[in-house]
């Protein structure tokens, strides 16, 4: 079937079985390999993307389900000229990424939080990132990076 949706602000149209995972279509058909696969079971959040502004695990979404919707992947966080967002820059400055597998999902989950709450508390950051597991950093630096972006 043909599935049409908006990916990082650009309309896309793909031919695919509608039951394939959005994760696989993003990575294999659309070259958006920033979206990672960790567990494939909804536990780790490495595959997080935004659909219409809500964070979801793309390993749990059938691509047919994004027809007509707005999908944002980590590739869409930076400006079109490649300039990193404030949040991305903060991750670099705080050493919030090591192997980087969890980072795209962390960035997207934190991005949603920062759009809704300009002054989130540490607890709010922890809650917003509860669905994103990191095996490397121990979370402290990730939380500090997010908190540094409060206005």
């Amino acid at each position: 079937m043909t599935v049409r949706f908006t990916l990082n602000g650009v309309p896309v149209s793909i031919e695919s079985s509608g039951s394939r995972r959005l994760l696989d279509v993003l990575r294999e058909d659309l070259g958006k390999t920033g979206t990672k696969e960790g567990c494939g079971e909804g536990e780790c959040g490495a595959c997080s993307v935004l659909i219409d502004g809500e964070v979801v695990d793309s390993c749990l979404v059938a691509v047919g389900q994004v027809e007509g919707r707005n999908v944002l992947t980590v590739e869409g966080l930076a400006a079109p000229n490649g300039e990193l967002s404030r949040l991305q820059q903060a991750f670099i400055e705080h050493g919030a990424a090591q192997c980087g597998i969890c980072t795209p999902g962390m960035l997207l989950a934190a991005h949603v939080l920062l759009q809704r709450a300009t002054q989130p508390t540490g607890d709010q950051v922890r809650e917003a990132l509860a669905g994103n597991l990191c095996r490397c950093t121990g979370y402290t630096k990730i939380i500090e990076a997010v908190l540094s972006c409060t206005t």
């Binding site: 079985s17 039951s19 394939r20 964070v55 695990d57 749990l60 047919g64 917003a128 669905g131 994103n132």
Partner: protein, 266 residues
């Protein structure tokens, strides 16, 4: 799973027609249970088609109707958490929704999925039991206490679609979930209790989410301590990777004591 046909009905009528006419078809709502099993090939029998009910307008939303609170089968937990009506009329359901997974799961998981999946650990299921909820399908209304028929088995016919869940107004239900951590944890014990009428509903302590008959009888006599004592005989816990049966019994009694504000054990 590439050969699983994806069907996208436009409305409820279309969905019912497609579901009845497509062999080996499963509804797909948020996918938080089904997509994992489809991908791993562990859903039995393996579906040949999925019917996407996520966007069906009649299955969305939270509203008041006929003296009940009605929640669309494909409404997300996030939708319930954000609903003023749900906060006002079914706060225990909102409390349960908040404990399910983390944001990613709350944004996709639905009541229809939790009900049809019928896990004994499904967190909304004791809440729905304590509220005497009604499961509205494409053909009938099923009282929740008749819905769970065995381990992961329900009263649903093979081509029966859950449309909504209705909750009577004016009930006071208390909710408590005991897991290993705040987010993404499967329940060790999950409980919902109403004083009047007396309802004690518990998950993760038997092969189905159950109503504790002996505890309810004691509670109906206003004997909270008796209910706490009796509940140990109502449940059928097992030893598994998450807990032992003895632990589950002790925790069940402690949680009920707490929810009833019963005096501690002498």
């Amino acid at each position: 799973m590439h050969d699983v046909t994806y069907l996208r009905p436009t409305d409820l009528k279309d969905a019912v027609r497609l579901y009845r006419s497509t062999p080996e078809c499963r509804p797909l709502a948020g996918g938080t249970d089904l997509m994992v099993m489809l991908h791993a090939g562990t859903f039995r029998p393996a579906p040949r088609a999925v019917l996407d009910v996520w966007s069906i307008p009649e299955l969305k939303g939270v509203r008041r109707t006929q003296g009940m609170l009605e929640i669309g089968a494909a409404e997300s937990y996030t939708g319930m958490i954000r609903s003023r009506d749900a906060h006002e009329h079914a706060p225990a359901l909102v409390a349960a929704a908040r404990t399910i997974g983390a944001a990613q799961i709350q944004n996709r998981g639905t009541l229809g999925g939790n009900l049809a999946n019928a896990s004994p650990a499904g967190d909304t299921l004791p809440v729905l039991l304590a509220y005497d909820a009604v499961v509205v399908t494409d053909r009938r209304a099923i009282p929740i206490d008749q819905f769970f028929t065995g381990y992961r088995r329900t009263a649903l016919q093979p081509d029966e679609l859950i449309v909504a869940v209705r909750i009577p107004l004016g009930r006071h239900v208390a909710f408590r979930k005991v897991g290993t951590r705040a987010a993404q944890a499967i329940s060790k014990v999950v409980m919902a209790v109403s004083r009047s009428p007396a309802r004690v509903a518990i998950g993760s302590v038997a092969e189905v989410p159950l109503r504790a008959a002996r505890a309810e009888a004691a509670l109906a006599r206003n004997d909270a301590a008796g209910a706490v004592g009796a509940v140990a005989d109502d449940i059928r816990p097992i030893n598994d990777v998450r807990s032992t049966a003895a632990y589950r019994r002790a925790v069940t009694q402690n949680v009920l004591r707490e929810l009833l504000h019963a005096p501690p054990r002498p």
